[in-house]
């Protein structure tokens, strides 16, 4: 084979798509011809360069323009883009930076002023403290109840004592007074007399009580 014939098959030889017989013939020629083998080498470099040729990414703004000019509808944002658009990007603006600094100043000032009262405020809002307070309240009510019950018992005991004492004294007085009356056979009134008549031996203390 001559060089022009080989050049016509060089591309397919580089791709190994020639029939085996032709592959052998081309290989034989290349072994003998330095210019053709150099050409093949350069062609392989070209193919490698083509494979590593840069592939560009499509700009989202271009995508947006295409959609607006065709369907008229803006591009659908992914959740990451939405996060970036509505949260991350605003966070990186100077306006937000100024706002953040002012907020920090306000918070630090508030903390400085409120800090001495923090334990009091914390105790007011603490659930544990509320439970303790409730417990103390219940205990106080129970203690008051016990005290009232003791007082009642005390009063009851005093009353009982007094009552017993009075009755005892009265009984004693009655006993002292309730002695047999020595009558001289004179009748003072009708009814007692009749009773005395009926039970001449019975004692009547009622009659002896002072009027």
């Amino acid at each position: 084979m001559e060089c022009p014939n080989i050049e016509g098959r060089l591309s397919e030889y580089a791709e190994r798509s020639l029939p085996p017989e032709e592959m052998a013939q081309v290989a034989e020629h290349l072994h003998a011809c330095s210019s053709c083998s150099t050409l093949l080498e350069e062609m392989r470099i070209i193919l490698l360069t083509c494979k590593s040729f840069p592939s560009l990414d499509l700009d989202v703004n271009l995508l947006e323009r295409i959609l607006l000019r065709t369907s008229g509808r803006p591009r659908t944002r992914t959740w990451r883009e939405k996060l970036n658009e509505y949260i991350v990007r605003p966070l990186l603006t100077p306006r937000f930076a100024v706002g953040a600094v002012l907020s920090l100043l306000f918070i630090s000032l508030t903390v400085t002023l409120v800090r001495p009262r923090v334990p009091v405020v914390a105790s007011l809002v603490s659930p544990t403290e509320w439970i303790h307070r409730l417990d103390r309240g219940v205990q106080g009510i129970y203690a008051e109840g016990l005290r009232a019950y003791d007082k009642k018992n005390e009063w009851q005991a005093q009353f009982t004592f007094l009552k017993n004492n009075v009755f005892h004294k009265l009984g004693f007085m009655i006993e002292q007074l309730d002695v047999p009356v020595q009558t001289n056979g004179k009748q003072k009134s009708g009814e007692p007399r009749q009773q005395q008549d009926k039970n001449p031996g019975q004692k009547s203390s009622m009659l002896l009580l002072p009027t």
Binding site: K51, F53, I66, R73
Partner: protein, 190 residues
């Protein structure tokens, strides 16, 4: 049985805007890179991408599932528009060699170090410059085969030419680029 693309097209034709957004999301990058391969300029590639999608949107009703896949159809619409533009304004020749280095915005983030990145950028620049020196047919064949990675059959269908012609154009394009590279090395060595 409709493919996912065809279902998207159907929904789009019924007025579902989210389906159209799905199509743009799916093919936007591909069309943008195709435009960039042809024009070698990002601003022109953006304009082309926008115009291609407007044309696709306007002609979506003309897509027929029995005539081929939607993937091929949209690439054909894109390629035709790019070629029309090329023929009308000869923009690619005018812009040849004026492209800024596209070191930013690259997809390939597996670059191990700055030296390797610089080598890749240099190779990419050579390829861009070399492509501008090729005839439009050879350039197109190289773009579709070696940069877009399309199979021969698909290229033949897209360009409406026989597969043998595609192979021939690709071989000639590669040979010209290889010779340009060889000449460049000689110049750098001397």
């Amino acid at each position: 049985m409709l493919s996912s693309d065809e279902r998207l097209v159907e929904r789009c034709l019924h007025g579902d805007d989210s389906a159209w957004e799905g199509i743009v999301n799916t093919y936007g990058r591909r069309i943008y890179n195709l435009s960039y391969r042809y024009s070698s300029r990002t601003d022109e590639a953006e304009d082309l991408t926008q115009e291609i999608f407007i044309r696709v949107y306007q002609n979506l009703k003309s897509f027929r599932t029995d005539a081929g896949s939607f993937h091929n159809w949209i690439l054909k619409v894109g390629r035709n528009l790019i070629i029309d533009r090329y023929r009308q304004a000869r923009r690619f020749q005018q812009s040849a060699g004026t492209e800024e280095m596209e070191t930013m915005n690259l997809k390939d983030d597996k670059v191990p170090n700055p030296q390797r990145a610089a080598e890749q950028a240099e190779a990419a620049r050579f390829l861009r410059e070399g492509l501008q020196k090729l005839s439009p047919e050879l350039k197109e064949a190289i773009i579709l085969r070696d940069l877009e990675g399309m199979p021969y059959q698909e290229i033949a269908s897209l360009l409406s030419i026989p597969e043998g012609t595609v192979k021939s154009r690709i071989n000639r394009g590669r040979l010209e680029l290889a010779k340009l590279l060889s000449k460049r090395r000689v110049q750098m060595g001397s």
